[in-house]
């Protein structure tokens, strides 16, 4: 009796938690956002992309600012936070974020910068931790990444990027939650689990009949 009551309580708790988790909807962005941040991305020696990112929160993370810039961003995550692996097709895949940082050669990766006054300052914390406020300038540079070797992004002011807004202003809506791949793959996965369940039932029947 007590056992079945415990099971009912556990199952109901799990269901409630699941409903709570599923009820969360993605954050929506407003096109008329009051705050702006300039994002400067140095893809190589010749190509530099600048974007003015609009946001309605008081602060957003450096990672969110980069994501909302409209450039394609690939990041790797662990318990310590996120690491930017690829921006606009330049960099490494998410499962090998430091692919050009092996074997004692130059360690090439995306270095992260903040503009302080007129000069760039190498970021002391990661982009997922750092908070960006209105009228700040964020920089990303692909190349040798260590603090002594890193190449800073070109000198660009906030006004240069955001005052001539027009087409360069971005406030990219969060992408919709999509199911990657088709449903057939999940049917196959269910089939494999079904086979395992049959094997389990078969084992139970055999052990009972003995």
């Amino acid at each position: 009796m007590e056992k079945s009551r415990n099971i009912i309580i556990t199952v109901s708790s799990i269901c409630l938690i699941l409903v709570w988790l599923l009820s969360a909807s993605p954050r929506q962005l407003n096109a008329q956002d009051p705050n702006h941040v300039a994002v400067v991305v140095r893809l190589d020696e010749e190509e530099v992309v600048t974007q003015c990112v609009a946001f309605n929160e008081e602060q957003i993370s450096g990672y969110d600012a980069l994501r909302r810039s409209g450039l394609s961003v690939t990041a790797g995550f662990d318990a310590q936070g996120g690491t930017i692996c690829q921006i606009d097709g330049v960099g490494c895949p998410a499962d090998n974020c430091f692919c050009q940082c092996k074997g004692g050669q130059d360690c090439i990766y995306w270095s992260y910068w903040h503009q302080v006054g007129d000069s760039w300052e190498y970021a002391r914390v990661g982009a997922t931790t750092y908070k960006v406020s209105d009228k700040e300038v964020e920089g990303w540079s692909w190349g040798p990444g260590t603090i002594s070797q890193a190449i800073e992004p070109p000198a660009v002011t906030f006004e240069e990027v955001c005052d001539s807004l027009g087409s360069s202003e971005m406030g990219v809506p969060m992408e919709e939650s999509t199911s990657s791949g088709n449903w057939l793959q999940y049917v196959l996965f269910g089939g494999i689990l079904g086979l395992f369940a049959l094997a389990l039932v078969y084992s139970q029947i055999r052990s009972k009949s003995r």
């Binding site: 988790l21 993370s61 997922t128 199911s179 196959l188 996965f189 395992f196 078969y202 055999r206």
Partner: protein, 360 residues
Amino acid sequence: MRFNSRAWMVWVLVVAFLAMFARNPLYSIILLALSLLAIQYYARIESPVRSMFLQISLGILLFSAIYHALFIHIGDHVLFELPQWPLIGGIITVEAIADGFRNGLVLIALIATFMALNTIVPSRELVRLVPAAFQDLAVVVLIAITYVPETRRHLRRIREAQAIRGHRPRGFRDWRPLILPLLVGGLERAMRLSEAMVARGHVSERAENSRAPERILLIAGLFTALIGWVMAILWGVSGYILLSLGGLVLVLIVVRKGRRVRRTSFVAVPWTATDTILVFTSLAALILVIAPWPVIGRLSLSYVPYPLLKMPEFHPLVGLALILLSFPILMGMTTQRDHDRMTEPDQNATSSREGIRQAR
């Protein structure tokens, strides 16, 4: 059906490696199911152990989810926001919780895999898997892996004895009559074990096993490997050569030391064709999953729930490669029937003996 312990070891190592390598929860679930089915077919575990595993698994999932939710503030599905407290302040997201579940699942799959090894392969064979050069370590491993089950059995005996005498532990103080006999019993067991080991001449072998040149070479090999490892990080190829050299010296010393140790085997489990197939299917699954084949979706092996939660991918070919690891379960399903057939006469004999006793 019984596999050789070395073949089981290969299977377990492949499953454990894939559990760590494939961070996709769908593959983790398959690997977890494989380990649990292997336990179901080849080991008999008691109900309390099963419920303990379930409780530990739930605990790991819960802890991992809370840890990730508190320390990773990334994701678009925001549940609520904590004030800007150090470390844990910020948004609490569904993505971080999902990541916690994913990591917890990997940990549970690993625990289940090693539980399979521990329950399927007898302790004496597990010890034999340790290289002969590490004989002393093997004895320590044997004592360590039998300590918990032995203590649990002892605790159950004490509880039963106390229950017969009408003792029912309710509060913390009521556990004293259980803890003290358990402690005394543990000490007695340790004394008996040490006496038995001394009686079998365990201590007398120590002098023969330690030779000065070998020890010097061992230190030199370790030092060379360490320098090689550091050099490999800094300068690449030249370091790997030194690392291999150091590793070779270490392997040679272990083999040389192992040859001097004599082991007696009373019941040797032979290596059969099914063991070869088990090793072959395990290695095939490993190569199929980790090698960069163009047709196998290696990208599906990793799953990152950030920044927006989405369903993990399931690549059919990776799924089929993992199915290769179910060979021991298939063998267990087919041979259990043979086992039943073989044991039937024994059961009949037992029942007829009981019938005779009853008739008397």
